[in-house]
Amino acid sequence: MKRLVYSMPLGILAVLAVYFLLGLGRDPYILPSALINTPVAAFDLPAIEGEIKGFSNSDLKGRVSLVNVFGSWCVACQQEHGFLMKLSRQNVIPVYGIDWREADRKAGPAWLKRYGNPYTLIGDDPKSLGAIAFGVTGAPESFLIDKHAVIRFKHTGPLTDEIWTKKFSPIISELRKQ
């Protein structure tokens, strides 16, 4: 009994140590999305300059698609842009864009002109209404949406080939079977 009592602090310490060690590997800026498996909230964003159609939640019904939040001010978005261009060239999946918080209305369109436009539709989001609907905390963020406009997966940070094959592809083929 005495032994048990005396070893208790050590036991508690061990449990805490394991807990904290696991915590060390986590990036506190990557938040668990509260939105996985919930329907996309209603939003209706106007077109960016030079485009005719904007982007709203009703565009997402019927097909498995990707929603990507970007901005011309966002360096990591530039980094993933080549990959998005590849997705659109190879017709892998429709990619919808939310052009988030541009300082002026010309910035987004100019950026897309320079680096190419991989998006099926783009919504202009100067007031974060689209971004908040998706619970976005920073750009880039990408969301996989199923046929019924339900959010199924979220990735924070730039997309790469590796992340795509490892995380996105299996979920997409699963979603397409449904």
């Binding site: 506190p28 800026y29 938040l31 668990p32 999305s33 509260a34 939105l35 919930t38 909230a41 918080r101 007031k127 974060s128 209404l129 971004a131 908040i132 609907a133 998706f134 619970g135 905390t137 920073g138």
Partner: protein, 144 residues
């Protein structure tokens, strides 16, 4: 008497530092609502909503662009007639409980809320038992 100028200098320095220490005002006058009551409610809600970019600040304190947009959104919803609870629920539905600076009391947060009390009670129990034993030992004539 020669000391006086130094003293004033020191005092001035101290007041300057204190002035700097006052919290910077993040809420921009252009965001504020004309209706005082609504504005008060908006401020009250904002103080308990976490800025998801800067994480340990409330959106009321934060200069982050997203915090600004959230403040504007809260005001817009209040103007449209939402109750405080409806506004808060909307934000929680988008960002999860994490967005609340005061975590709600529920299953997974019970330990967070009551853990410290439990440990304090256990510690007190341990102390009481220890002293009782000491007392009993002394009574029996042994050395503690």
């Amino acid at each position: 008497m020669r000391r006086a100028p130094y003293l004033t200098g020191y005092l001035a320095a101290i007041f300057l530092i204190l002035g700097e220490l006052q919290p910077a005002q993040a809420v921009n006058p252009t965001e504020m609502l004309g209706n005082d009551l609504l504005e008060k409610r908006a401020r009250h809600i904002s103080k308990d909503i976490r800025c998801v970019v800067c994480q340990n600040q409330s959106i009321d304190d934060s200069d982050a662009p997203l915090a600004r947009d959230l403040r504007v959104l809260i005001r817009q919803r209040l103007v449209e007639g939402d109750t405080d609870q409806e506004v808060i629920s909307y934000l929680v539905s988008r960002y999860g409980d994490f967005v609340l600076l005061t975590p709600p009391v529920k299953g997974v947060t019970l330990f967070l809320w009551f853990g410290p009390v439990v440990f304090a009670l256990l510690g007190m129990l341990g102390l009481v038992l220890y002293f009782r034993r000491q007392k009993a030992l002394i009574k029996r004539g042994g050395t503690p």
